[in-house]
């Protein structure tokens, strides 16, 4: 029974390792931007609370900060799909 379970089709190991690698690449690339966006927005809200008249300016900077941080997630995302082939 164990021998039967231990059998694997050719290329199965590679496919499995590719899937694990893809998961690690995308997972790692999503955690960083998630933390980054949290910091950007958190600090923007603090700034808006301290100086409400600057809200428009702060939001401009915040939006650009979010968009640039998101680019990192896109890098990981794209890499994960390229690894998969």
């Amino acid at each position: 029974m164990l021998q039967l379970l231990a059998q694997q089709a050719p290329g199965e190991l590679e496919a499995g390792l590719t899937a694990i690698g893809r998961g690690i690449v995308y997972g790692g690339a999503a955690i960083g931007p998630g933390i980054g966006i949290g910091i950007v927005v958190g600090n923007a809200i603090t700034a808006m609370a301290r100086q409400p008249e600057a809200a428009g300016m702060v939001r401009t900077t915040m939006f650009l900060g979010i968009a640039f941080t998101e680019a990192l997630a896109l890098f990981g995302f794209v890499l994960a799909f390229i690894i998969a082939g």
């Binding site: 927005v41 401009t60 915040m62 979010i66 896109l74 998969a84």
Partner: protein, 150 residues
């Protein structure tokens, strides 16, 4: 106290203003990306670049719409929409790419590279026109705007 709490103050929709301006520039940027993708990857490259441009546009539009709406509601909504919107947009992107990855007319390498280049290209281009001042919180003033605000 937030800007939204002040009597008679409506926060300007700076995100929408920025994205509208970015999309205007994207009209000039998109043909260049399409042309380069066609030269490098052929017709699959053209289709992939078109999908990438559409995804970047949709991503920016959704982000701007969500943040502009949330800024009018409350700071808590702004935080929730920023982080939830990020997860939602990445999820949508994942669904679209998973659906397209086995299509014969899609080249995943071309799609990925065009996605990142379009996103970053538009952002860096837009940086030249952004104004971070109290008088003009969104874009740098044009001659018309300057005439209105002393």
């Amino acid at each position: 106290m937030m800007a939204t709490d002040l009597p008679g103050s409506t926060p300007p929709a700076v995100e929408r203003e920025l994205v509208r301006d970015m999309l205007k520039r994207g009209v000039w940027f998109a043909p260049v990306i399409l042309l380069v993708a066609t030269v490098i990857w052929g017709l699959a490259g053209t289709a992939s670049a078109a999908v990438a441009i559409a995804l970047v546009t949709l991503n920016l539009l959704l982000a701007a719409a969500g943040l502009s709406w949330a800024a009018k509601v409350s700071p808590m909504a702004l935080m929730a929409v920023s982080l939830g919107g990020f997860a939602l947009r990445m999820g949508l992107l994942c669904v679209v790419l998973l659906a397209l990855r086995n299509e014969p007319w899609i080249n995943m390498v071309a799609l990925g590279i065009c996605l990142v280049v379009t996103h970053l290209g538009l952002l860096f281009w837009e940086l030249q026109y952004v104004s971070a001042s109290l008088a003009y919180p969104g874009l740098k003033p044009t001659a018309d705007k300057e005439a209105v605000v002393p």
